[in-house]
């Protein structure tokens, strides 16, 4: 059971965080709308890409949509549509609601990100503990070198190496057969997880070594507790405060990596949808995806802040840290 501390400063800081999150979201909404409506080029031209632009047809397409309305009416319409998940229509796939496109792509990316974090965080923490248990030994040395190699391995490198190593066998299909999906996801998740494992392992090791020097750890050892209990029961909880902060920043970086991995493995995910929308000037989709990304990021950082306050009330000041 997580108990939240009864400290006024803490709630004040959290309240400010919430206000900030609302501000970021508000800015993102304006940006998403502006991306769709204020950019040069118009939907009719994008829709008829490569098929010439017959002025009469362009006129009809404009009239059929709401694009003849004044800008403020369009913005009001956009805002009122948002709570119901209505982002308007895609320009590239004429007549297709943006929500449908995002709804089809989001589960793939969500699966990738969640699977990556589920693999990377425990593996990284375990490696960090093994490393910090006896610093300076060959195991610590090997893990430290491994962590450096891992975090120098961008997803684009490992993904293509996996493709090369298993020619023809890495056919990834997400066809609803969950066992097949799981096997197909192994390569993309491996490519995504390797760098985060290195980052989490290094951070865990550094935090643990700092914590292990404290008096209360020496006291726990003097009481005769086993090395494992001192490490897991006493040192790790305090070290985790710093590690969670790192994991919070990782989640955002993983989102960029998913775009790369989805492109390499040909997965129909949100990252690929985003990039293709930008390159094809399908601004309503691009704006909506930006909105989704910002929402996810804001939620993750709020969750990490709450987690840090919950596990380490004295560290509530970290919320106020510059």
């Amino acid at each position: 059971m997580i108990r939240f501390p009864r400290m006024p400063g803490c709630w004040e800081a959290l309240g400010r965080r919430l206000a900030e999150a609302a501000l970021v979201l508000g800015l993102a909404v304006v940006l998403a709308f502006a991306m769709a409506r204020l950019m040069p080029g118009d939907p009719a031209t994008v829709m008829m890409d490569g098929q010439g632009t017959d002025p009469a047809l362009v006129r009809r397409l404009w009239g059929a949509g709401e694009l003849d309305l004044p800008l403020w009416r369009q913005f009001v319409d956009y805002l009122t549509g948002l709570p119901g998940g209505d982002f308007g229509l895609s320009w590239r796939y004429a007549g297709m609601p943006v929500t449908t496109l995002i709804g089809e792509a989001a589960p793939v990316t969500l699966l990738l990100v969640v699977a990556t974090l589920t693999v990377a965080v425990p593996a990284g923490i375990a490696a960090g503990i093994a490393s910090a248990h006896r610093p300076g030994t060959w195991l610590d040395g090997a893990l430290t070198v491994g962590a450096v190699l891992a975090l120098s391995m961008p997803p684009v490198v490992l993904a293509t190496w996996l493709m090369l190593a298993t020619p023809g066998r890495l056919v990834v299909s997400l066809a609803g057969d969950w066992l097949g999906d799981l096997a197909g996801l192994m390569a993309p998740v491996a490519a995504l997880a390797i760098a985060p494992i290195g980052i989490v392992a290094r951070s865990t090791r550094a935090q643990l070594l700092e914590v292990l020097g404290h008096d209360y750890v020496r006291c726990a050892r003097a009481k005769g507790l086993s090395a494992l209990r001192v490490m897991i029961g006493h040192a790790l909880p305090n070290a985790m405060v710093g590690v969670w902060a790192v994991v919070g920043t990782l989640a955002g970086a993983i989102l960029t990596s998913t775009a790369v991995v989805e492109t390499v493995f040909n997965l129909p995910g949100l990252g690929r949808l985003a990039i293709e929308a930008v390159l094809a000037r399908d601004y309503p989709v691009a704006g909506a995806v930006v909105l989704v990304f910002v929402l996810v990021q804001v939620t993750i950082s709020l969750a990490v802040d709450l987690l840090i306050v919950a596990i380490a009330p004295t560290d509530r000041d970290t919320l106020d840290q510059p």
């Binding site: 961008p154 790369v260 990021q297």
Partner: protein, 279 residues
């Protein structure tokens, strides 16, 4: 853990590896700059040809010399990373010292803006910038530079706040020195070490990010090579000429590894607190 332990480059094997890798990278980039390479020479008849005496790394899908494209591409990627770091440093030093020196509402305004920027992650920022100014070299510099500037603004601000309370700064203020003079001559030399260490740590991730965004098509555009576009070309010809993608990804790995090691080495050299903690 004696406080006065001096740093020596050759003290650890990592330092030696680091120096060797850094030197190799420097030579490769300079080679790409100096040699009269045939960047745009086509030999379509020999497209996807493997390594041969006159083309040590083979040819790409359009029959262009891969070694030339690889060397120039590495230089381009590194140049973009350095330019982005320059932009981030300018933003970080400017806004960071402004926030740290002025305090009050200026500080609050700048730091809340930084929080907002931190909330908008790389990919979302990249999409917005790519839509606003179009994909290309300048877009990628803005994306990467603005994207990593919050880290530097926060670092500079916290360092300046500490320095502002030091006696030598108070003395300079009491003597009537103008703020800019104090910042440049009394504060900056004292905080340059940690800033340099953090900047070095940012370069590696920046090169990786450049490769990722160019691979996705938001960065450097054809026909100019960068590490990311080389991987994209290589992926298209994965079956016909795997040497292209192997060479490009190996180069990305080499660059990333080199900068990770250099960053660790610099951190130990410039930030003694870290050394005593981890040894």
């Amino acid at each position: 853990m004696t406080g006065s332990r001096r740093y020596r480059l050759g003290a650890s094997p990592r330092g030696v590896i680091c120096a060797v890798l850094g030197l190799v990278l420097l030579v490769l980039v300079l080679w790409g700059l100096v040699l009269p390479l045939h960047l745009s020479g086509f030999d379509l008849g020999r497209a996807w040809a493997g390594p041969s005496p006159d083309h040590p790394c083979g040819l790409d899908g359009l029959g262009r010399d891969l070694l030339a494209r690889l060397l120039v591409g590495t230089g381009t990627s590194l140049g973009i990373a350095v330019a982005a770091l320059g932009l981030a440093l300018a933003l970080g030093l400017g806004f960071g010292s402004l926030a740290g020196w002025c305090g009050g509402w200026v500080d609050a305004l700048i730091m809340r803006s930084v929080d907002v920027l931190m909330g908008v992650r790389e990919l979302a920022l990249a999409m917005v910038v790519a839509v606003l100014i179009g994909p290309g070299g300048s877009a990628i510099i803005v994306i990467l530079g603005v994207g990593c500037s919050p880290l530097l603004v926060r670092l500079v601000r916290s360092l300046v706040v500490v320095q502002r309370g030091q006696t030598h700064v108070l003395a300079a203020t009491a003597l009537g020195a103008p703020p800019l003079h104090i910042l440049l001559t009394h504060i900056l030399p004292n905080i340059a070490g940690p800033i340099a260490a953090r900047s070095a740590a940012i370069i590696g991730p920046l090169v990786q990010a450049e490769a990722a965004f160019s691979f996705l098509g938001i960065g450097i555009q054809d026909p100019f090579p960068s590490l990311g576009t080389l991987v994209r070309d290589g992926l298209a010809g994965l079956r016909s000429g795997p040497h292209l993608i192997i060479a490009a990804t190996a180069m990305i790995f080499l660059v990333a590894l080199t900068f990770t090691l250099i960053a660790d080495e610099l951190r130990d050299a410039l930030d003694p607190r870290y050394r005593s903690r981890t040894s």
